[in-house]
């Protein structure tokens, strides 16, 4: 049953903003408890070394220091990884064995090796300085290709090599396709290490009460998942483990999804010290440890017919997973999904994808918005442009020729794409850029010594991840879940198990639920983030809010209507059921005679405060929990981004003149929020593509551990981002909604690189590596110029 929901599609102001605008949000660092102590980590200053001695005596003797532990002190807790928190993918044979603190050996700069607890953060900082560590440095391996060489230093000698995971993904008959090809494009693309990095760092506050158990306030995207993994690791009953994401969290972008060593330590210390233990990561630690994603090399080959049809693809992917010591993702879940999504919006029947994930002496990869896909999206959409140039085809024409045309579509490797419209999206992008006239303008500009270019990318972004994918990949369900519960005053509490942190769930859930129940968004309040106050759920990940969680809320609200109608009919003393009523303006209104109506507040009052007025035999209460799982193995949004640039070849600097994002979010719930998600995704994409990079030197020293060195774009670094809706409602969600924003950064690298290369055509530049710094562009121009002059 579908309903015209009057609140859907309206850009109402966000409910969460009022508290945030007056400084009354509650973030992790804001929570203070009596007897609370502060936890801090001593981290390795070497990328690879034996720990020969740790002297904790001086630190422990400081007034105000409660505890100093080293790896040996936590050995009894056991290794962090278990079957439950490791991907269950085929071909997984290896896993790093490690403890919350490293014992004997450190494997990257930032590796935690001791923990200190003190009465306040100033005392803590002093004490951390006093922990004296002796190291015996070992050879390091920083480059993933070097990691594969037989004489490379090994991170985990027991493996015999540095290969963490290998997967071969074949489909169709790629050999035959390449044999029949009129043109083969072969190129090596390298995507650097970059990714998330939220403005609020990680943190937690652990409280232990005997008999009641552990409560962990945690910056997390997935409280329920953390709860069951923490209970398993700490060997305490599930009933005694509670995880709460604070009311507000300062962004995550994937980085707050894994289970981390620091939160295990805080829990252990709270139990040991019987005092609330708080840890607030500093920015240096944050840049050392989380948000490091991408970092792949693609040796990609495309087989094409003369008319531009791509008939085959081969890709050898090498992913640098760092030390891979994070639970749930173990460094390789991202490149794995990226490989599965490599062909993305293209309909390529014959593929051979070979993924090798290696470990190096860098921080573990962590999830980062555009989970695993960023590097592959760059490689493929770049290769397609190279093919277009070789065939003298227009980049839009070659994409339209090879884009998925009919939906639902199952890709050669089995990814289900439910709905979308690439021709429509391209048409809007081209119109916005006046692309029809651009080539003339471009030629004129070249003649005048100016370098203008346009680049395109197209993509399929996940709109939530179904259980079918999430169960094997992360041992977690993909369903959306929500409890819709009337209170005694006719207001509605919606409890979700996710933990939104900027996505606007308090507003969008209120919109959809109020519309389904004839109420107004002010009547709805949304609670989230607390494992003891909401249903079990996978968390806020992978653009699943608008696709899965909202859909569950809609279904739960709809499930209440028959009972509401029965109560209304009883109060009106008539025989009538759900279909005889409409719910609007706060009332159940009898369709046949609109003067017959009952206030919804009155219905709730009867159900909760005054159950003696209920129909005979009816159970009291008015609430329902729904679990939503789409009847398809994957919902997606199909998007086209177009970028116009001007390059200044003397310096390699360039300006993004236009960034046009044509995005599909199905039926938008709140278009203003959707635009915000796209803006933010594009901004991260531009930052990751053009200026952000985690740089390690040859010794494995991380050179980018302040925000002055790791350059997140400021308002001056970004262009105005234009958004255009091209929505194809999903046939699989009750309102046609789709998720938006997670995959968005993946659209940027190829679109920008394609635009730069297009602008520099007269100079014959070929872009194969990121980031696109002016220095890199300048060097490419310098290297290419003699050739162009010949």
């Amino acid at each position: 049953m579908t309903t015209t929901n009057p609140w859907v599609g309206r850009s109402i102001k966000r409910k969460e903003d009022r508290r945030l605008l007056v400084g009354e949000g509650q973030y992790l660092a804001d929570i203070v408890l009596p007897r609370m102590v502060m936890m801090g980590l001593v981290r390795s200053i070497y990328a690879h070394a034996k720990i020969t001695k740790i002297n904790t005596a001086q630190a422990a003797a400081q007034p105000g220091v409660q505890a100093v532990l080293t790896g040996e002190d936590v050995r009894h807790l056991g290794p962090v990884l278990s079957d439950m928190n490791t991907p269950n993918l085929p071909g997984v044979t290896k896993r790093p064995i490690f403890w919350p603190l490293s014992i004997d050996e450190v494997k990257y700069v930032g590796d935690p090796l001791a923990v200190v607890v003190a009465r306040d953060k100033y005392t803590l900082e002093d004490a951390l300085e006093l922990v004296d560590v002796d190291y015996d440095p070992l050879d390091v391996v920083i480059d993933p290709e070097r990691a594969l060489q037989p004489d490379a230093p090994l991170l985990y000698p027991e493996w015999g090599d540095n290969v963490l995971y290998h997967q071969h993904i074949p489909a169709g008959d790629p050999d035959a396709a390449f044999a029949q090809a009129d043109l083969v494009i072969s190129e090596r693309f390298r995507c650097h290490r970059t990714g998330g990095q939220p403005m609020e760092t990680r943190g937690c506050l652990a409280i232990y009460k005997p008999g009641e158990g552990l409560t962990l306030w945690l910056t997390t995207q997935r409280p329920h998942i953390k709860r069951h993994l923490l209970a398993e690791y700490l060997k305490i009953p599930h009933s005694q483990m509670r995880v709460i994401m604070p009311k507000d969290m300062g962004g995550a972008f994937g980085t707050k999804a894994p289970l981390y060593r620091e939160e295990l330590l805080a829990c252990h210390l709270a139990m040991k010290l019987r005092r609330p233990v708080k840890w607030v990561e500093n920015r240096q630690e944050c840049l050392m440890n989380i948000g490091q994603g991408r970092d792949q090399i693609h040796q990609i080959e495309l087989a094409l017919k003369k008319d531009g049809t791509i008939i085959g693809l081969r890709d050898k992917i090498l992913a640098d997973c760092g030390d891979a010591r994070t639970a749930i993702y173990v460094g390789f879940a991202m490149p794995f999904l990226g490989a599965m999504y490599l062909i993305n919006g293209y309909d390529i029947p014959n593929v051979d994808i070979d993924l090798t994930c290696v470990v190096t002496n860098k921080a573990s990869l962590t999830p980062s918005r555009a989970f695993g896909s960023f590097a592959g999206r760059f490689a493929l959409d770049r290769a397609v442009d190279l093919a277009a140039r070789a065939l003298k085809m227009d980049p839009v024409e070659i994409r339209l020729k090879n884009a998925i045309k009919t939906f639902p579509h199952v890709s050669a490797v089995g990814v289900n794409v439910d709905s979308g419209d690439f021709p429509g999206s391209f048409s809007k992008a081209c119109d916005a850029l006046d692309y029809g006239n651009f080539r003339t303008k471009q030629s004129e500009a070249w003649q005048n010594g100016r370098y203008l270019g346009v680049g395109f990318s197209m993509g399929v972004e996940i709109s939530g991840v179904p259980s079918e994918v999430l169960v094997p990949m992360e041992r977690q369900p993909g369903f959306g879940v929500a409890t819709v519960q009337f209170d005694a005053h006719g207001k509605v509490q919606v409890a979700e198990g996710d933990s939104p942190h900027g996505q606007g769930h308090e507003t969008t859930i209120a919109q959809v639920v109020s519309g389904e129940l004839g109420l107004s968004p002010e009547d709805i309040y949304v609670t989230y983030g607390d494992t003891h106050a909401g249903p079990f759920s996978a968390g806020t990940i992978g653009s699943r809010g608008a696709s899965y969680t909202l859909s569950a809320a809609v279904l739960a609200a709809r499930a209440l209507r028959p009972k509401m109608a029965n109560i209304a009919a009883h109060l009106l003393n008539i025989e009538a059921g759900e279909n005889d009523f409409v719910f609007r303006d706060g009332h159940a209104v009898l369709i046949q005679d609109e003067t017959q109506r009952v206030a919804i507040a009155r219905i709730a009052e009867v159900a909760l405060l005054s159950p003696t007025e209920l129909p005979p035999g009816m159970e009291a209460g008015l609430e329902h929990t729904s679990h939503f799982e789409a009847e398809t193995a994957g919902m997606h949004s199909c998007n086209v981004h177009a970028v116009q640039v001007e390059v200044f070849p003397d310096t390699g600097e360039y300006k993004i003149l236009r960034y046009v994002a044509v995005d599909d979010c199905g039926q938008p719930i709140n278009p203003m929020i959707v635009r915000g998600q796209i803006h933010g995704g594009v901004a991260m994409g531009i930052g990751n593509t053009c200026m952000e990079e985690f740089i390690y030197d040859e010794n494995g020293q991380q050179l980018t551990t302040t925000l002055l060195d790791y350059h997140i774009p400021s308002s001056l670094d970004l262009p105005h981002i234009e958004t255009i809706e091209h929505n194809v409602p999903s046939p699989h969600t009750p309102l046609g909604s789709k998720g938006k924003g997670e995959g968005t950064p993946g659209m940027a690298p190829a679109a920008i690189a394609n635009a730069l290369e297009d602008a520099l055509q007269p100079l014959g530049v070929k872009i194969t590596e990121l980031p696109l710094t002016p220095e890199r562009i300048w060097k490419l121009i310098q290297a290419a110029q003699p050739q162009a002059q010949e």
């Binding site: 400084g23 990095q197 925000l707």
Partner: protein
Amino acid sequence: MKREISITINGEAYEEAVDYRLLLVDFIREVAGLTGTHVGCSVEGRCGACTVILDAKAVKACLMLAVQADGAKILTIEGLAQDDVLHPIQDGFWEKHGLQCGFCTPGLLMTLYEFLQHPKHSDKDIRTAMSGVICRCTGYVHIVEAVKHAIAAVEGMPPEERKEWFPV
């Protein structure tokens, strides 16, 4: 080593003996308990989330010691609204969806509080003014719109009302 200092925040005087090394941002958050001002970097002054108004200037509270602010008058995000009426800057951010996670918001609001008192308000001026505060969520597009909304509201005000919204 401690020193007795007095700092007025949002009109309320806080007199405390504090360590010399106590950062101003910790004084605001931990001594005064005003947690609307945030810390997003390792006190290197780059993220800007800790920006407050100190004696009519926007400053990063992580780059100052509390003792340096002895005798100063400070305005934080908690002091912007009057009773329950939002400041035009807050109103602009709400109307135009100028925030998502809200973590950088205090820094932006306080930076723009000073900026709005300047005479020049082109798009470039707005972006330049904001550039000391990093927002990771919004791509700044809606923030620019929010600022324009606030500028329009402020410019339409009689001078005495404007003065009420910008007491420092």
